[in-house]
Symmetry: C2
Subunit: 184 residues, 2 copies
């Protein structure tokens, strides 16, 4: 089993917090939460749930209306999740189109580079607004004292900091490009 695991883990975590759920519900919740850190569509989720069931990490309860299958986490599944969190040092393999653009941007003329950097800043700004709205909604509704009250909260905080970092970086890089082209 040298596979990536991450989708499995994400689903185990989500199912732990949600309690027994159907694939459809999981896919919807996934989209609104875990997808910020690990993307997957229903066409990947349904087969993975089936495989996880076959591997004993999940159990299928009664099938509800419209053929809904209700999954829940087995003890093996809990153990798998715990083990991954405690023992697995995450692989650092990056693959970010934004970072690639930032890498290559010096290949452009200064004014073009500034345009690209400004676009990056704008989209970071939009992303930041989205994340801060999410946090505001959390603070208004969620019960942070509950058993899983902080589920996703640290990741949200991290995302906000990283996005702010991108904005600051873009500002400084724009200034740097302009300084260099001014004195050239």
């Amino acid at each position: 089993m040298l596979q990536c695991m991450s989708l499995r883990i994400a689903l185990l975590g989500l199912l732990t917090v949600s309690g027994p759920s159907s694939g459809y519900d999981l896919a919807k919740k996934f989209e609104k939460s875990v997808a910020h850190v690990w993307q997957a569509g229903h066409s990947q989720i349904y087969p993975e749930l089936a495989k996880m069931t076959a591997d004993g990490l999940l159990a299928v309860g009664a099938e509800g209306a419209r053929g809904r299958k209700i999954y829940s986490v087995t003890p093996d599944g809990q153990a798998e999740l715990r083990r991954w969190l405690l023992d697995h040092s995450p692989s650092t393999t990056t693959r970010s189109e934004t970072a690639l653009q930032s890498f290559l941007v010096p290949l452009l003329e200064p004014d073009e580079a500034v345009t690209v950097l400004r676009r990056m800043k704008t989209s970071a700004q939009a992303h930041l607004a989205e994340l801060e709205e999410l946090r505001a909604a959390r603070n208004a509704i969620a019960d942070p004292a509950g058993r899983w009250g902080m589920f996703g909260a640290y990741a949200l905080d991290l995302g906000i900091r990283q996005t702010r970092g991108v904005m600051e970086w873009a500002d400084d890089s724009i200034a740097d490009v302009e300084r260099r082209s001014g004195t050239a």
Copy 2:
């Protein structure tokens, strides 16, 4: 052509800066530079170079010793790279194991969560040291006034900021977990 493109673009950029190079040389340079933002092994690079040649983005010069093929960027290749940088808004699809761990960490007991967060901080620290050494080496050697002097420099700066951000986040999150478990 709804493909990802990113590997193509990375190779075009690297080849633009390196000047005509063999696949082997590109793979080595790739590993030391672009791989920080987009990973790929030689088994992916060789076929991609062949495809890019077939698509007219690259041209093969004389074959050197030991069957070396010397690739160079064609005008079509330059245009492709420019177009991607100027017109392509990078997809925001995240997929980070670190972020996934940060997402799920509240599922653990407080002391376990602290352990995981400390590990994340340590590895961020190591990564930061690596990046700062890279920057020091750049500053000692590189000629930032040269045509491509800043190639990769903005990405390196971004990486350093992001990694510092992770460390700060880890510190604050550890403090938060400890505060919550103390008052619970």
